[in-house]
Amino acid sequence: MAKINRRSFLQVSALAGGGFLLGLYSSKAAALAQGPQPAALAPTDFVSIASNGVVSITARNPETGQHSLNMLPMLVAEELDVDWKQVKIVRAGVDAKYGIQFTGGSTATPNNWDAMRQVGGAARQMLIAAAAQTWGVTVGECSTTAGSVHHKASNRSASYGELAAKAAQMPVPDFKTLKLKAAKDYKIIGTTTNDVENKDIVTGKPIFGIDVTVPGMLYAVFHKTPVPGGKVVSANLDAIKQLKGVRHAFVVEGKPRPSNFPNYLNDDPGLEAGIAIVADSWWAANSAREKLDVKWDEGKWAAQNSADIAKKADELSKQTPMRTLRKDGDVEAVFKRSDVKVVESQYVFPFIAHAPLEPQNCTAHFKDGKLELWSTSQTPQTGRTILSRLLGMPEKDITIHMVRGGGGFGRRLYNDYMCEAAWISKQVGAPVKLLWAREDDLQHDYYRSGGFQYLKAAVDASGKLVGWHNHFVGYGEGETFAHSAQVDGNEFPSRFVPNFVLQASVMPLGIKTGALRAPRSNVYAWVYQSFIDELAQAAGKDPVQFRLELLSNAPPAGTQGVMNAQRMMDVVKLVAEKSGWGKRQLPKGTAMGIGFHYSHRGYFAEVAEVTVSANKKIKVNKVWVAGDIGSQVINPGASENLTQGAVVDGMSEMLQEITLKNGRVVQSNYHQHPLVKMSQTPPIEVHWIKSNNPPTGLGEPALPPILPAIANAVFSATGERIRTMPMTKQGFSFA
């Protein structure tokens, strides 16, 4: 047993955190996320046991609704061997000693499955060591049951509470030597635990970011340039300062972005130019904002319009693509063959916003060269680094408290609101709660990128997919795609089609783009799985059968992070069986559709049954989901909830768009960026395959297949293919 060298631990964990974040959402993300954890975590940083037996377990991740606040301590408690009823969950502060503190990319499970079980197992070993020493016996003679250590031979027992003080002094065992439980012995993993904050939620306790109150706190609004990169020329600040309740009104120059397409997670200074108004109440600040009269220098993006972008994309689609990202075989030769059917289609999708229900906010207190913040950030560690650069102060002088976030969906990966709050607090020398209005949120997002997909493919006489050509027209400059707006040569059906070409062209863009729940997958699944349905039709084959045949063209074993065909076939078969695919007689106007997608290491296939009325109202009658996220579904109740939510979320995305006029976003509130309502929500049946693979995350991978499942069902019911999102552009809506 080696004592942890605290200094080396901190260095290693800082590297691991930084390295991971740098690679996030790049093609290396999956591999990095599966890489080693920090060399060692200290069990005593995560587990605290009171003499009365209450076991406090620290959850290190930010919580925005995925139940990680429960899930991480469940893993610790399982291996610690305590009753869940003894456990008190504690939210961590932001500190390198905890290793990776990050919510995104469905990484909570893969980043914590081993690490948190090891923390629990190591703490258990330390408790056993304390008992053995007390009794003068060997550790091998001792065992544990829910919260106690036993020595059978002498019939002695001691509770964890009695042993805790001594156990804390025991050496920390090497995590590699720990013998963790066999799955059959799990008592907590695989059982439903309800969200620890449920009672606070249903009684309206102040647990969200927006609820934070600090003595002497002022309230701020920040009126940002409507066009990205714009500057304030002049404003009626003297008049604003005279208004009731207003304490301060000033121009924030903003910090220029380091390049057109920086990695926003790490490089974005997060500070657009604008005007800050600080008042005694948020209402006073926001009312004053309505009286603002600002002259802007709108900068170089002021002429950008969605209609012009669409025209440009159409021109680019007719030109030689700018780049070739993957080329297998000879697709042009295939298209010339006389024995193939060639299908061509184009799919168009818009920018959409995250719009979590809790508007962006942050409370910041800059005092005597130190900064304290209360934040809902999904990336508080990165946020601290960005703040350190922005304010020119060392990270050690920045303390961040994690607060429950009212939804994340990727929006809170970015730390702009945190930077704004800190900047304003420093300017006014008082604690400040910055709160965005919904309009700020919809008009200053890191949008899910839009794009244009031009597809051409061939099926041979036997109905086999033999050639695939994809020209993607998206956003970026030169060889760089806009953030989270790229296409990946590993995306299905590459590797499964012998002649395959993926090419791309890019257009410049003013607004920021970013990762929205199941980044890119949330729309590429619809594009590719819809087009595959078109090809099944051309081949005269059943959509499920066509997919299974395509998947069975198994390529050589995939590299890490790439889809495993067998696991996908298994979920396709399961969802077909559960939905009664091809076995049920459906009335005219009613039909089923299927979609599958691999993302974030999760395998999901979904079937939707829809009825479409003459006026194109889609009633989704039912949805079946089959998923494979590895050998364990850690918290089944929460997992079902999250999966059903992913389906509802995906349905909403079929209705949403963000458009640009004169460089600014047109949409301002939920009436122009709708969410599906309760009456539109179908019954959603969720089935799991527990495959022999390490457990992986669930925040994202259940979402992508629902869009093509519904779109393909609509085609079967009506003969009309949805090739443009939002589907309202083709006259479709949900009944």
Partner: protein, 179 residues
């Protein structure tokens, strides 16, 4: 001077009468349970009861609540024991939880006038409350369960999740959180 009753207590306000009730509740009375989502009456996160009727606090000026009786999420039970709150916890309805206070206020108002609602009744009463996480199926199930709990009038004690009393200090003395 505007006078009104909030959760049974007399309150008064002499500020801007046009200020929405939402900000009076949240920032003047420190009742943070009522949430700001859209400021536009679109999402329902700010739902409160005004003389028993579910109302959007973000669009209701304080002046419109003069002499009225307001109930917020903090006022429907002292301890989370209202059947709707109990059902919400038992079915583990929330994901992020942000919309749920508004959902619960709409659900309570529905059950007050319709003790045994059908799915269609529930959908119709709840369609103004958006849930960005998509917990609608559980909300609907919880409303049915709350109706049963109310009917049987034998409300079971709420399961308080994993909460237990007592703070741990022995095993890992907590440092000040600074690095």
């Amino acid at each position: 001077m505007i006078k009104l009753k909030v959760n049974g207590k007399n309150q008064q306000f002499d500020g801007d009468p046009e200020m929405p009730l939402l900000w009076f509740l949240r920032d003047e009375l420190n009742l943070k349970g009522t949430k700001f989502g859209c400021g536009f009456g679109m999402c329902g996160a700010c739902t409160i009861h005004l003389n028993g009727k579910p109302t959007r606090a973000c669009l209701t000026p304080v002046s419109a609540a003069a002499n009225a009786s307001i109930t917020t999420i903090e006022g429907i039970s002292p301890d989370g024991s209202h059947p709707v709150q109990v059902a919400w916890q038992e079915l583990d309805v929330p994901q992020c939880g942000y919309c749920q206070a508004g959902q619960i206020m709409s659900a309570c108002a529905l059950l007050a006038k319709n003790p045994k609602p059908t799915d269609a009744d529930i959908d119709s009463a709840m369609n103004g409350n958006l849930c960005r996480c998509g917990t609608y199926l559980r909300i609907r199930a919880a409303i049915h369960q709350a109706a049963e709990l109310k009917a049987s009038a034998a409300t079971k004690p709420a399961k308080a999740g994993a909460k237990a009393s007592g703070a741990g200090t022995n095993f890992a003395p907590r440092k000040s959180g600074k690095q």
